[in-house]
């Protein structure tokens, strides 16, 4: 089917990107000045794209819901960013990074895209250093690296436990420079509520000014959505409170296909849920697994005593500790990929070995590293993470092991894009976490930052020219066009509808219910019965929401409840699509684990014969079942094997 042409270039893997760059069209500087591009979201993808496009000479309008572009949730990434620099002389290469990422993604991503990602990874590090990102260094003054899950080489660059912050500040500086130069108009506290399609092409967006409540129209020659992931569908996740799937979802409802929605990442090292008043979960960087050892007691009775608070971890002798990751996966040990580590933690807790009052935590112990390296070294490496842990839990992790449990962290699925990062709607692009393209069924640690910046700095600025070259004769978009009129009206009516329900319960009531359904049935392990039930339950809660939600305040003022209501309304739909997708994919791969598809020793069992495809969902209308299309994944270079970290 022509609409699903992934446009992966022909030729040898290592030459695809360079051949493609030669083949695609380029827009002249004089014409770039006439063209307008909208960028929605200012995280690593959005900020780097907006800055790079403006530097090229395009007129850029950038939007974010936060009060500053610097606050996008990329800021919270802790551990690092991968690149195939081979600075450690440990036999790393572009090819090895490619292989690790493909394998880490459990062979559900495109070879061509992943190779390109590995290829540009080195440019990213150069770019960031030039911008003034203070990456960690050795005493000789050269860049330092650390190890991350799913790799046997040391290729992760870092700025303490604040790598995302520093990379985002780099992109934000570049963005600010262009704002000052007048080539970017920045709109903060603006939320995109719809995309406008004219004659089949993306021509603009409708936003709500979150301060005045005013609905506004913005036109352009192309729209780039860099709005991040939809992990907050689970209510509790490591995402920021405002992170949402609505921009991507509006694109879907306007005809952009949505891929692999069931692929979400559950991060193994988060601070466990505490009581019932919790609003969000806090991640403890994966880098901690470099120096922390994961364990639970060998004996259930001992675990029982821990849960009752009768004994502490210090009372358990070496022989009584089960370092289950080292036991099950001797070659990768504590550094197995995230999905493997998460499931292993769940398995131990479900079997009755959990160590906190709720029985839903395992230990991450630094005692051994502190003995080996000294407290100073551990403090230098992870000081800010240890401080964060202590502030939240009131426990000093230098003295007692951390308690951790898996939590929703990242969405690999997202808007379908071709090799040019264009969606199924011409002129509409999706980059960073918002698209589906590079991480398959599981993302390796330190690869999200790499992908966001690869898309924004080095891929989109090239590929968007190929489309815009044919737009140079198109005049400035008229925002008085009937399509804008209609889109604005629909947005206004939806807001009125929410206000007019005048129900009895706040948004959170429904949101928490949705989150619980998602976690119970569309979480770490899934089965046909549970997924079918989830679809039914989600429909019920959605119906209740639209009958009984209560929004206070005014539409034409700052109104966080209204913002949340709109996002949650979309989360019901996203949650349902995730459950449908998970139901269709009757195999276990990466972060998606189906109880029906396991090996004899309890590991995830992929089914390459039937599921080597990207699922692509097409919106068919309100209340109608979406249509499933499939993009077959072709592997020309990699042999598909059952992933093993043993």
């Amino acid at each position: 089917m022509s609409i699903l042409d992934s446009k992966i270039p022909q030729g040898p893997l290592a030459e695809k990107w360079s051949r493609h760059k030669t083949a695609i069209k380029v827009v002249s500087p004089a014409n770039k000045r006439k063209l307008e591009i909208i960028v929605v979201g200012t995280g690593l993808g959005g900020a780097s794209a907006a800055a790079s496009l403006a530097e090229l000479g395009y007129n850029v309008k950038a939007f974010c819901y936060q009060d500053s572009p610097r606050r996008a949730h990329s800021i919270a990434a802790q551990g690092g960013i991968n690149a195939a620099k081979n600075y450690q002389n440990d036999n790393d290469s572009v090819y090895r990074l490619f292989i690790d990422t493909i394998k880490g993604g459990d062979y559900r991503s495109r070879e061509g895209n992943v190779y390109r990602l590995a290829e540009v990874s080195n440019n990213i590090i150069d770019q960031c250093v030039a911008q003034g990102v203070p990456f960690g260094r050795e005493y000789g003054g050269l860049l330092a690296n650390r190890s991350f899950g799913g790799a046997l080489v040391s290729r992760t660059f870092y700025a303490r436990g604040q790598t995302g912050q520093q990379l985002l500040l780099g992109a934000y500086h570049a963005l600010n420079r262009q704002i000052a130069a007048g080539s970017i108009e920045m709109y903060t506290r603006h939320e995109m509520l719809d995309v406008v399609i004219i004659d089949g092409k993306a021509r603009g967006i409708i936003t709500r000014d979150l301060v005045s409540g005013k609905i506004k129209r913005f036109g352009a020659h192309a729209v780039v959505v860099a709005s991040g992931g939809y992990g907050n569908v689970f209510f509790l996740s490591t995402n920021a409170m405002g992170s949402n799937g609505s921009a991507a979802w509006q694109c879907y409802k306007k005809g952009a296909w949505f891929s692999n929605p069931c692929f979400v990442q559950i991060h193994p090292t988060c601070i466990p849920v505490h009581g019932d008043q919790q609003s969000k979960l806090t991640l403890m960087s994966e880098s901690l697994r470099n120096d922390g050892r994961v364990w639970v007691p060998k004996d259930k009775a001992v675990a029982e005593k821990l849960r009752k608070g009768e004994i502490g971890p210090g009372d358990i002798s070496e022989e009584e500790r089960d370092f289950y990751l080292e036991r099950r996966y001797p070659s990768y040990g504590n550094l197995v990929p995230r999905d493997v580590a998460s499931r292993a933690a769940k398995e131990r807790c479900d079997a009755g070995y959990g160590v906190n009052a709720e029985g839903k935590a395992v230990y991450l112990d630094f005692k051994y590293s502190i003995e080996r390296l000294g407290k100073n070294v551990i403090e230098a490496r992870y000081g800010n993470l240890f401080q964060m842990y202590e502030k939240i839990t009131d426990v000093d992790p230098y003295k007692e092991p951390m308690m951790i449990y898996p939590a929703i962290h990242y969405s690999m699925g997202g808007t379908w894009v071709d090799y040019n990062l264009m969606t199924t709607i011409p002129g509409l692009y999706s980059i960073g976490e918002a698209n589906f393209s590079d991480h398959g069924a599981n993302r390796l640690g330190a690869s999200a930052l790499m992908q966001g910046l690869a898309d924004g700095y080095f891929v989109l600025p090239y590929t968007i020219g190929d489309y815009l070259a044919s737009e140079i004769m198109v005049p400035k978009t008229d925002t008085k066009a009937p399509e804008f009129e209609a889109a604005e009206k629909a947005v206004t009516q939806r807001i009125e509808k929410l206000f007019n329900i005048k129900g009895t319960k706040p948004v959170d009531y429904f949101y928490k219910k949705l989150g619980q359904i998602m976690w119970d049935y569309v979480g770490m392990s899934r089965n046909a019965e549970g997924l079918t039930k989830a679809i039914k339950l989600i429909k019920e809660v959605r119906e209740e929401f639209w009958k009984d939600v209560k929004i206070t305040g005014e539409p034409n003022n700052l109104n966080p409840e209204l913002e949340k209501a709109g996002r949650v309304a979309d989360f019901f739909d996203i949650g349902e699509l995730m459950a449908r997708d998970a139901l269709d994919r009757n195999e276990s791969c990466g972060g998606h684990f189906r109880d029906e598809s396991v090996t004899d020793d309890g590991e995830a069992k992929r089914d390459d014969e039937n599921f080597t495809y990207v699922s692509c969902w097409e919106w068919k209308g309100e209340g109608l079942e979406p249509a499933l299309h499939k993009e077959e994944l072709v592997f020309e270079n990699v042999k598909l094997t059952q992933r093993s970290y043993k």
Binding site: R71, Q162, H173, M186, Q277, S279, A357, I392, T552
Partner: protein, 253 residues
């Protein structure tokens, strides 16, 4: 260890419907808050209670809730980010408060940060200061290999200390002069301690300081209140560096 439950708290909070509104304090009571809950979770619970009582919930800025995005900005019991050290409001936990206590919550108070609604303020002035020169002027592409410029370990560490600034504005809120010197100094040190950033160092200090003055932030009188309340523990020694940088820039004019 189970956290204690605070059976009753009084929340005295600044309410102001918009920038034009005069604003006033209102006091609400709230029951059964776990000491393990965060301060913002307490506000979530209060807001859901207000909604059920047909009242407008309290608007406050927040996003990552893990102390890094810099969005949250509350003045609690007379302190920026409340009664704990080296944290943002979202990392403050209720175990820091006493049973029956009255907790006073205000927005950042500074002429350059006008109130938008309730506890939400407009920090666009910070954006403008950074846009005035808080960057290194490099384009995407065409840069040298990352390891071509060795940088002494100590210099990078110092740069990183300054780069940890989250732009929350606590320094301004804590300062009796509403000065933004610590914020500006942090950026000047972050970039100025690196060889890449030296090229534009003088120009940067000059333009950021003049933009700060233009936007109505006050001057620094070394009270160190900013350093005390900075959630990222950024030292005022960076202000000393900024002053040196600024003076050299002016002298070389």
């Amino acid at each position: 260890m189970a956290d204690k439950i605070l059976k009753k708290l009084n929340i005295k909070v600044w309410r102001q419907n918009n920038a034009a509104d005069k604003g006033r304090f209102e006091t609400y009571t709230i029951d059964n808050i776990s000491g393990g809950s965060s301060f913002l979770e307490m506000l979530d619970i209060l807001n859901n209670k207000l909604i059920l009582e047909d009242k407008d919930p309290i608007a406050f800025d927040h996003d990552c809730r893990e102390g890094i995005c810099g969005t949250c900005s509350l003045f609690i019991n007379g302190r920026a980010h409340g009664p704990d050290e080296d944290i943002t409001t979202c990392q403050l936990h209720m175990r820091k408060f006493k049973e029956g206590e009255t907790i006073t919550i205000e927005p950042w108070r500074a002429a350059s940060f006008p109130v938008i609604k309730d506890l939400v303020v407009d920090r666009t002035a910070f954006e403008k200061i950074l846009q005035a020169g808080g960057f290194i002027s490099v384009r995407t592409g065409g840069v040298p290999d990352a390891n071509s410029i060795p940088i002494p370990y100590e210099d990078v560490e110092e740069s990183m200390d300054a780069a940890s600034c989250i732009g929350c504005g606590a320094c301004v809120a804590a300062c009796k002069n509403s000065s933004a010197m610590l914020f500006v100094a942090a950026k000047v040190s972050h970039l100025g301690k690196l060889p890449q950033g030296r090229v534009e160092a003088k120009q940067r200090a000059r333009s950021m300081v003049s933009k700060m003055d233009e936007l109505g932030f006050g001057g620094c009188t070394n009270t160190r209140a900013c350093e005390v309340e900075c959630p990222k523990n950024i030292s005022i020694t960076h202000i000393a560096r900024l002053n040196r940088e600024y003076l050299t820039a002016r002298l070389s004019e």
